[in-house]
Amino acid sequence: MKTLKLIALAALALISLTATGQARKGVLHINEVMTINESNFVDDFGGRPAWIELYNSKFAPLEISSVYITTDSTTSPDTWYAVPLHDVNTKLPKRQHIVFWADGMPSRGTFHTNFVLAADKPNEIYLFDSDKKTLIDHVTVPVLAPNTTYARAKDGITVYDKDGNVDVAATWEVRNDIDEGKYITPSSNNVIEDRNDKVEKFADKDPHGFGMAAMAMCIVFSALAVLCIAFMIISKIGGAITKSNKMRSHGIDVKETPREERPDHDSGEEITAIVMALHEHLNAHDNESHVLTINKVKRAYSPWSSKIYNMRQLPHR
């Protein structure tokens, strides 16, 4: 028993460790990067540094403190920028963005990194988890023109090719705020959704609702049919086990006794007869309370002013 408990505890610890390591991987993404900011987004000090936008693709808040951001993963982790603890703003709401200013001035606040982005050469940006080993996300940003960004085509989405490798061309694109749909969107969705596509599609393709009715009824029927079949099987197995236990209790060998000689089921009449006999023999009946409660009615004063009648009695219909 003690060993079992130890094993369970160890398994629990292992699961929680794995869960911590995996918590931000796959849900926290580098979403958009601007390396030369001449006339774009202004920081809280009035400057225009380069910026890196992160995105939480989870449908739940995500704490990003103690995440590491760096442009050189070969250096000591001590030199990487660690997102500080105890800042309420590091809890990223569901499906929301946050912008980090790559100005090399971490003293300016939580969202100012200790490194700058190079303007004249590609930048590697790495996002590491608090263990400094788990790579959450990585992007190679090409040399960009001023006021252009390197952004995911769809927020938080990575496109893979047939071999399972990241399809960089399909995942990332250069945005210049001029071409149609190539808007620069710091702290906002790269793809702005102003309607529910699913509803629009149903309104367009299935205006009378026949498709929905047919599909949905099929699903409802199959869900309950699967349950029905499962319970037919379970009931058969259960019935067989009960029968076999009953035979055993009667001392009957199932293999040797012909089917017609087996006491397959007790009829309701037999059970009733047994119960009646027991009742007659033992004079048995349910235990009942013999306590009678009689409320004394005081007539000493008017019931209209009585707490007993007005506050403690619930009316019964």
Binding site: A203, I219, L224, I234
Partner: protein
């Protein structure tokens, strides 16, 4: 003296502007009359009093006129007000799963486990939802609104509130009141339909008594039920998860205290809060619209289609069943999930035609299958349209 008199009059005038009399409109009085009607139905006619008393009184609370521009933080839609905090359980959709927990802890699924094919009747009755969806589209509702309205056909208040809070929050008040009103009217709506679609011979069909179900089967049911239904429709998880969890608390035999709390105290508390806040959400300004009339009409349609399709499905099913296993079509109406009201109606109607033909336990099968079916249907609509 004159200054003091002016000050006095100004304050009295200001006070007048805050009173219900100064802010009342005819819509408020209509809604107050509706609330009083609900309370009358519940107390005098005994129609679903557990629901209609809280809803009716909630309508009175929600329709006391007040100055909405004064920032008093008293209205149900004013952020931070007490009513608004209580309403969060409705708007964020966490009251309905708690009610489902209670339903699970109250419900004995033995009838269904003993005769699993009755589950299909529960599935067939869900056609009411999708039939009403088609009518709602024809009237001109958008697909997400149509889905939220159509769920009234599932005859399940918590499910209707849950789905409408996700798909069409602006219509939730009307949908909830409509769903609960029709649930209360099940004894009026269903019997004529059951008579219409069945012959006298069919009403006299006697069904074999259900076999006894072992404790192990009852314990396995919620676990297998959860795994199978939620793997098919994960979006139904909040409702189905709580329903089956509540049932496991009941059937496990080792959590009696929890099951009692879930089925009594917890359900009662949530029912009070849910009913009252749903009633209060029907503020005249947002409730008395053309859409509300359509919603009540569609809810009625959905109930009729659901009840009829359950009965007709049994008739169809009987064509494929051997003579000794035929099902009495009077239990088809119980496929809607108004538990146990619709099962009681099957029983009463059965007894009317044969005083020794008790259909209650047979009808409980499709009735509880209807609860599962409507939660699955809600999950499907949520998956398709959210």
């Amino acid at each position: 003296m004159i200054l003091a008199q002016n000050f006095f009059m100004e304050n009295l005038n200001e006070f007048w502007q805050f009173t219900g009399f100064a802010n009342a409109t005819w819509q408020h009085f209509v809604m107050l009359a509706v609330g009083l009607f609900f309370i009358w139905l519940a107390i005098k006619k005994n129609f679903e009093p557990m629901l209609l008393v809280p809803i009716g009184f909630g309508i009175l609370i929600g329709n006391i006129p007040f100055n909405t521009t004064a920032g008093l933080e008293i209205g149900i839609y004013e952020e931070g007000s007490v009513l608004n905090i209580l309403y969060n359980g409705v708007s964020a959709g966490w009251y309905p799963p708690l009610i489902f927990l209670g339903i699970g802890a109250m419900t004995d699924f033995s009838a269904l486990i003993a005769n699993p094919k009755l589950m299909l009747i529960g599935a067939a009755a869900q056609f009411g939802i999708f039939g009403a969806y088609m009518v709602a589209l024809a009237i001109g509702f958008a697909p997400d609104q149509a889905g939220a309205i159509a769920i009234i056909g599932g005859a399940d208040g918590p499910t209707a509130i849950f789905l409408s809070s996700k798909l069409a929050p602006n219509l939730m008040g009307a949908i909830a009141v409509s769903a609960y009103s029709y649930m209360a009217l099940v004894p009026v709506i269903q019997p004529p339909l059951m008579r219409l679609f069945t012959t006298k011979k069919e009403r006299l069909i006697r069904m074999k008594p259900a076999r006894a179900v072992s404790q192990n089967e009852k314990i396995i049911f919620p676990i297998v039920g959860l795994l199978l239904t939620c793997f098919v429709v994960p979006s139904g998880l909040p409702l189905l998860g709580m329903l089956f969890f509540g049932n496991l608390l009941r059937e496990s035999g080792v959590t009696t205290r929890l099951a009692k709390t879930a089925s009594n105290a917890l359900t009662d508390i949530v029912t009070i809060l849910l009913g009252m806040t749903v009633g209060a959400s029907t503020q005249a300004t947002t409730f008395l619209t053309k859409e509300t009339i359509f919603i009540f009409f569609l809810g009625f349609m959905a109930f009729i289609i659901a009840s009829s399709s359950g009965v007709l499905f049994v008739k169809l099913f009987n064509l494929f069943l051997p003579k000794e296993k035929k099902i009495n079509p009077l239990i088809g109406n119980a496929g809607v999930s108004a538990v146990p009201m619709s099962a009681r109606i099957s029983n009463n109607l059965g007894l009317e035609y044969d005083p020794s033909n008790y259909l209650l336990m047979h009808a409980m099968g499709p009735n509880v299958a209807g609860v599962i079916g409507s939660a699955v249907a809600a999950g499907v609509l949520l998956g398709f349209l959210a």
